[in-house]
Assembly symmetry: C2
């Protein structure tokens, strides 16, 4: 009798039990094995339910090893940039729809912290990791995560040549769009605010800046590149430094919108009006860009779209670890608002 | 021989093994029990190390049940506000120093998402939860987390009367400081921007606004309270609505700095200058407040300090679940910058 019932329930029993109890399959299988990791009350509940339904556990370790935990670990290098909130919301929505729960680790651009946080998550065998790697992450760091059969997908940033799926925006094309827009307005001396070469987005956006200049026949002047992390404080400082140059630019593109907001603050502090005295292009088009006065001309990068793409890549990868590597790089779009106009000569100001 | 060696190593063996291997004690104990939750490579490594050192596991379930996982689950209702990044960094630093790893769940003000995320974390038995509860969280929701013996501490926000430890700022006193500052400058018609009554911080900050008015003998006018979530977009909208009133205020306090930044954008869009045409006080004093031009007068709330306090409360609570409930409410401090001055009559403007 016992055998017949378990044969009827067949392979789906663990999943069915989990579904009925509102628990993850990992918890149910751990509870059935009397694991101390599962709270006693839950263990008893699972074991009782299993008894009631005549469940006979398949104790083959191999079968248990392939059980889904329905957890996806998301590792972001930063959460202060609202673009990551948009990204996280899109990833979560797509994964929730597929029955997954997201746990988040934040590296704050610190590889050691990233290793510790993702390592802890890895001990509990998430089905997948979606990672925006901290600066200086090595290929080996990502490979260590994938070594135990966990799907790994990169989002926004990538470790080039790592051989992991990637979803993000075509940053080179995106920043070039901004430069071309400024050139078409008549600017020839154009700065770049924020970004640094230790991260793929920094390299790609700088390459886009250089490509845009080159297409217009404007020589690259490294003095006009203000490298730095993409946040407001740095953007403000970078704008102050650009304005203090012997021959300041009349316009600038930015690594991201946060840098651009900081640059707008710098312009205000210097008594200049963006879109009249100085032209500025952001990058990302987060919601705040349209709120500023003047509103920020920027490059829209379809963050929710590539967030959803990253989630889909993770689901596809966990279904088939051997599928070919896939890259989703969405083409951005220029959004012209009020911070860009034809150039007027900017006098050097004492700062 | 085997017995002697294990007796020598005594009770600390599991901890010592974990330390030597750079793994959590939970992972080591799971690996020794051949749990499929632990990656095979790690299991073999642990088992080999245990063999080499002549380790004999104490397989008493009770002993394992009390093993620390060294994970602390942090549940935040929001991460878009940079104040939460400051908070998270402080919590992580304090817990890292105590050998804990932080895993983060974000509810995005959604109780169902909070239940799912924290429930998944709970299955892995973190040592503690530090939670800023989503609006409409009930006492039972927190009690369910604590039911399995996990320490629960509230940070920033609280469910009043829940009987859980709390660390945050004295929000009532803080907002009253801002109102008193405006009254001393000569303002009598003072608005309140942002905040809502479904959250403890909303109720306390509104109470602080009312207390400040009352102390100055100014009657409370509900038409001057613009309730809403504490973000930029809402702050901008609230300022537009205040300016459009038949008899607009000459000043306002804000639920948080983000609302105040939005309100500054609203003033700019209306052609008004903060600190000259309208006085504005923020709340929190996040780094961005000093970057604005004019820089934001605000109330400093010692976020890293109460973040560290929350971490300490969690460590104390996990060491002794029966200790008396503790509340840490830090008194905020007014930081006067450039957005506040004596009132000038503001004419109603067509918007």
């Amino acid at each position: 009798m016992e055998d017949t019932r378990s044969a009827q329930l067949g392979k789906v029993t663990l999943q069915r039990l989990a579904l009925e109890l509102g628990l993850s399959t990992a918890t149910v299988s751990l509870a059935l094995r009397d694991s101390p990791v599962v709270a006693e009350i839950t263990r008893l509940r699972v074991q009782e339910a299993a008894r009631d339904r005549g469940y006979v556990a398949n104790r083959s370790a191999a079968a248990l090893r392939t059980a889904r935990t329905n957890i996806v670990g998301v590792g972001l290098h930063d959460i202060v940039n609202p673009s990551f909130t948009e990204l996280l919301a899109a990833i979560e929505d797509a994964l929730s729809a597929a029955g997954k729960t997201v746990l988040l680790g934040v590296s704050q651009e610190d590889v050691a912290r990233q290793t510790r946080t993702l390592g802890t998550l890895a001990e509990y065998r998430p089905d997948a990791f979606i990672v925006s790697p901290a600066a200086h992450t090595r290929v080996e760091d990502l490979k260590a995560l994938a070594a135990t059969g966990i799907a790994v997908v990169q989002v926004t940033r990538e470790i080039e040549g790592s051989g992991f799926d990637f979803a993000g925006s075509d940053d080179r094309a995106g920043v070039a769009l901004g430069v071309t827009h400024l050139v078409e307005l008549g600017h020839r001396r154009i700065g770049m605010i924020g970004g640094f070469s230790a991260i793929s987005t920094g390299r790609k956006r700088l390459a886009g800046y250089q490509a845009g200049l080159k297409a217009a026949g404007i020589p690259f002047d490294p003095a006009l590149v203000m490298e730095g992390p993409g946040h407001r404080e740095e953007g403000r400082r970078a704008m102050m430094r650009l304005l203090a140059l012997e021959e300041p630019p009349t316009a600038a593109v930015s690594f991201n919108d946060l840098s651009a907001f900081g640059a707008l603050m710098g312009l205000q502090a210097a008594g200049l009006t963006a879109g009249r005295d100085f032209s500025l292009v952001g990058y990302d088009d987060i919601a705040e860009a349209a709120l500023w006065h003047p509103s920020l001309t920027t490059v829209h990068t379809f963050i929710p779209e590539y967030g959803r793409a990253a989630a889909q890549l993770a689901l596809a990868r966990m279904a088939d670890l051997s599928r070919p590597v896939e890259r989703v790089e969405l083409p951005p779009r220029l959004v012209v608002r009020d911070t860009t106009s034809a150039p007027v000569p900017v006098k050097r100001r004492p700062l």
